[in-house]
Symmetry: C2
Subunit: 245 residues, 2 copies
DNA sequence: CGGGTTTCCGTACACTGCACGGAAGCCCAT
DNA sequence: ATGGGCTTCCGTGCAGTGTACGGAAACCCG
């Protein structure tokens, strides 16, 4: 009655949902590999990342890595969670929700900018690593204590972190597109000209969007505040803004 | 006095900032190539995308493509903008800002879900193609007419589209992680178990986040409304919520 | 000291992006 | 008509990729 009895592995199941117990004693280790992967990614970006180069950094044969890690893709999963693990949260869990969330958001951005390959990967795989989950848990808890629950809670967190990830992703592509100071002014000017030439097509844009000439820090703070305002408006005991359908 | 007289090309300059005039008459064309690229990406995802496979689809030699397109990376830029060009906007520019923005956001999401490789690419390169710019222009115009300008305007748009991109990126990874109906229930259950097992570490999460079991449509609508509320609160002539620093 | 387990890794295969240089078609001036 | 130049097209080649396979060597415990 079952036409397909066993399909051995139809999609790569997220690393976090599997488990793996390897006893014994090595020269390499998963930790060492992941740490080296983060370094390599910092230095060369995701394009310059390869298993051979990673192994070389560890002074090991390429295939030795596969004793500790199932695939290149999984190394990226692990490196991503390791990087996100650098997010440090000083605010006590009992602090006002807005402070907790603001700190998380800015810290997340700081870490993502320190590892410019992170934003690109975040949009590519589900965040189920322990570091990601720990971060989510704190955010959920803060807003739950503020009175949200169920779908409204999920939506609020979702709005916040979708925004943070999206913002830093585009910020990061802009920043790495302007790598050294010399060409930076050059490219900015070129971008200005580019928009100015098309001012008939994009008049408002040409007027207001300075295309990466902006202060990203201030922009982030402003946009973050906007999102937090939106969340605040949905908290119990705040004026109903507009009736839903 | 100038130590580095000419550096031939230090980073790949965004395609849109270059120009290229090719007269004459071909069997291939940039349009045909880009259209085929979108098809290939739809069918095989970004991992299955290669210049050889693309050429095969066009019944052409691999190297013929390079007559029309400088590099694989540029093909991806072009395909991305082509896909974003499918965003259709029915609202007249004179409609209320909230309607314009809401339509843009949901249409963007629809298109991104129709081409599941799009969200992953968006976080990877600046959006300077004509389709992206046209979309931005409309959004800027709508909010400009509502009274925003300068950094506040930029921040509002930035909040909105960062959110949309971020949301659809994670939604998309979840969806493609659950490709066929058979395993879907399976993975959902596994994810539930996964969280339940760790309920001591992530209590709030285990309670409220159903981990992809949710209705993405409703979640998006809710979160989008939250962000729009935040923007509304910043419009001129709305009650000051909290004093800034 | 023998056998089993576990780390390490050389080799090999199928695949990638793209540089190079040649062939073949077209346009136009003479 | 003929020659030259430009522009398509693309075969070949190179350096590089992820990882399957199977062997070597080190260690543990009997």
């Amino acid at each position: 009655m079952s036409p397909k009895p066993v399909s051995p592995q139809r999609t790569r199941r997220a690393l976090w949902l599997r488990d793996d117990d390897r006893p014994r004693k090595p020269r390499l280790s998963r930790e060492r590999i992941v740490a080296a992967a983060v370094d390599l990614l910092d230095a060369e970006g995701v394009d310059g990342f390869s298993m051979r180069r990673l192994a070389a950094r560890l002074q090991a044969g390429t295939m030795s890595l596969y004793e500790y890690v199932p695939s290149r893709e999984d190394v990226l999963d692990l490196a991503l969670d390791a990087a996100l693990g650098e997010i440090e949260l000083r605010q006590p869990t009992t602090a006002p929700w807005r402070d907790v969330l603001a700190e998380q958001a800015t810290e997340t951005r700081r870490v993502m900018l320190r590892h410019p390959w992170v934003p690109g990967l975040v949009g590519t795989r589900p965040l189920l690593g322990p570091a990601s989950l720990a971060r989510s848990e704190r955010a959920y808890a803060a807003l739950h204590r503020a009175g949200l629950a169920g779908p409204a809670l999920v939506a609020a967190i979702s709005a916040l972190y979708s925004f943070v990830h999206g913002f830093v992703a585009t910020e990061s592509t802009w920043r790495t597109q302007l790598p050294d100071e010399a060409d930076e002014a050059d490219l900015r000017r070129q971008a200005e000209v580019f928009l100015a030439e098309r001012a008939d097509l994009y008049p408002t844009l040409a007027d207001h969007a300075r295309l990466g000439d902006d202060d990203f820090d201030a922009g982030f703070a402003l946009a973050l505040d906007t999102v937090l305002d939106g969340i605040a408006a949905r908290l119990p005991g705040s004026p109903p803004s507009r009736p839903g359908p």
